[in-house]
Assembly symmetry: C2
């Protein structure tokens, strides 16, 4: 794994007061989840289902597909590694800059990795296409018409479309039934992002059953803990109260913050989500800014220099409250 | 994964009153663990350490080795799969009958698998030797002198010694420092077994740092959840109160239960632990006995017919209270 993913708050002890480094909005329901778990003291004392069929059935219902079209994993990360494993030795085209785990997983399983910067530049020999949509770290969403063309025009290629951030945009993404019917798409979903529970580790893949069976064959048993399975069931039963991301409001704030950062002399990429890819002017270092912000203002941003295709000037921020965002802009101005 | 591992209690709803199917003793501390977690509502809201270094350091201290000699995993199962991955394409000798995940992991990573029934029958071409010690399902412990000979006489082979059940026997097993110093041993340890928390998914591997680094290179990040890491720290801080297995008393009860089962006409293998491998006489089916016991007495045993080298007559039981064990013997007599 690369050093320095987002939300490396564990490195900074109690120093961080404002966490702009993670794209995930804080949930108000976590206390309730933990109280629910506390009332189930038997949970850690029993093996989980070897494969979380109960949760797969519930997600299938939510996504309007059959249970065999869903594979629950230890975070979406496990799904990424399982797909890479199932496709060992493939040529993988990765639409970059993007989440680095696609490349790490592909390299672990001996893929030939080709980075491309847009879907129109796909190499002819690609067996697998990895697309993060909405994309991390840019927050851009590929238009639904382009997605459908991609899938229709590449029947012999596997399209892995990571929709972990789907709840953070108002833009249309591929729906589960389309993915299942296509036969060449695996969609990735994330409880981490939807319910703001990165500490739990629950994700899933959706796809045609025949396709998913090839991936399932690479699974180890018991990879999702009993506590994670129960918490995931509970979160789903809470419905909109637990998954209460206001993508529209977040995006409006992201546009406002983008403007303020531009005014401060930062280069800011367009976003369709709640997070923003930024570039410092000249040769100034995002890494230095990050350390300075933590030390002087207790603010954590994401140094984005380790995304393939980005440089030492890049960083990423996710919007917080307008007040916190204003403080960030002022702090960056001070540093500049 | 094979169908029908032990503790498949999730299949039987509330029908099971006595669970002889899992080798793990119930813990009295689970409520305390869950209460501790409930007081940390922020846990699910933050990413865990990508690799649980804080826990690795604490286990290293406990085992009197350096932190780089410890790799914490999502249950010992993840360690098994990672070792198999790191050794892709090897010839693996598996001392059988034993835990089926060694073979499953080896096959997933294209090993040539050779089952042997004792250490003196190791094939000349084996690259990796898999030994479960104490062994599941037999409960037998390989004498320490034989273990040391194995390690010393096979410097060019990797010895994977799964000591998950070490706390369930009074017999001597390999200690962590011996494993680290040898350079060709990876020891597997299990929070599941020591603290009776199979629902949590925390295990670890111990070995020479150079050797372990090869395995670490196959890891994905965040495979151990924040909740699991915190619970594991808490369990370790509780010391003997959380890990309170009375191996001596359990073994005495296992010997008593073995005698009673033999008197009932069952063939019983010698055990050094709290669990017993049994064989029904003639052509009677362990699977039928299992279903009958659940339906008529709410008792769950482990059908052991799916262990490589065992047959339809084999089952495994772990001792419970003497009263419960007597009820089991009476129920089996009734069925016979």
């Amino acid at each position: 794994m690369i050093e320095g993913h987002g939300d490396d708050i564990y490195r900074y002890g109690g120093k961080v007061k404002y966490n702009f480094s993670s794209n995930i909005c804080a949930s108000a329901c976590l206390g309730e989840v933990m109280q629910y778990l506390a009332n189930l003291p038997e949970l850690p004392g029993s093996y989980p289902e070897p494969y979380p069929a109960s949760l797969e059935a519930k997600i299938a219902e939510m996504e309007d597909v059959a249970p065999e079209n869903v594979m629950v994993t230890n975070g979406a990360t496990e799904a990424i590694y399982l797909v890479a494993h199932a496709m060992t030795g493939s040529v993988s085209a990765i639409v970059s800059p993007t989440f680095s785990e696609y490349e790490d997983a592909c390299r672990l399983y001996h893929h030939t990795v080709r980075h491309v910067n847009c879907l129109s530049a796909l190499p002819a020999d690609a067996d697998v296409i990895w697309l993060c949509n909405p994309n991390n770290p840019t927050g851009k969403v590929t238009p639904i018409s382009e997605l459908r063309s991609l899938v229709a025009q590449n029947p012999g290629r596997l399209c892995v479309i990571d929709q972990a951030y789907a709840d953070y945009t108002l833009c249309r993404v591929l729906d589960a039934r389309e993915a299942v019917n296509s036969g060449n798409v695996i969609l990735l979903g994330s409880f981490t992002k939807r319910y703001s529970v990165p500490g739990l580790r629950v994700g899933y893949a959706i796809g045609n059953a025949r396709l998913l069976d090839i991936v399932r064959a690479c699974r180890m048993p018991w990879s999702v803990s009993n506590i994670a399975i129960s918490a995931a069931h509970f979160l789903m039963s809470m419905g909109g109260r637990a998954a209460s991301i206001d993508a529209g409001a977040l995006h409006i704030e992201a546009l406002r913050l983008s403007d303020a950062l531009r005014d401060a002399g930062i280069e800011v990429a367009d976003t369709d989500c709640n997070f923003i890819l930024c570039r410092l002017p000249g040769s100034r270092s995002a890494c230095e800014l990050k350390e300075w912000l933590v030390d002087n203002h207790g603010m954590l941003i994401r140094d984005a220099s380790n995304f393939h295709g980005l440089g030492a000037q890049h960083f990423r921020v996710a919007v917080q409250s307008p007040e916190a965002d204003d403080l960030l802009v002022n702090a960056i101005k001070e540093w500049m």
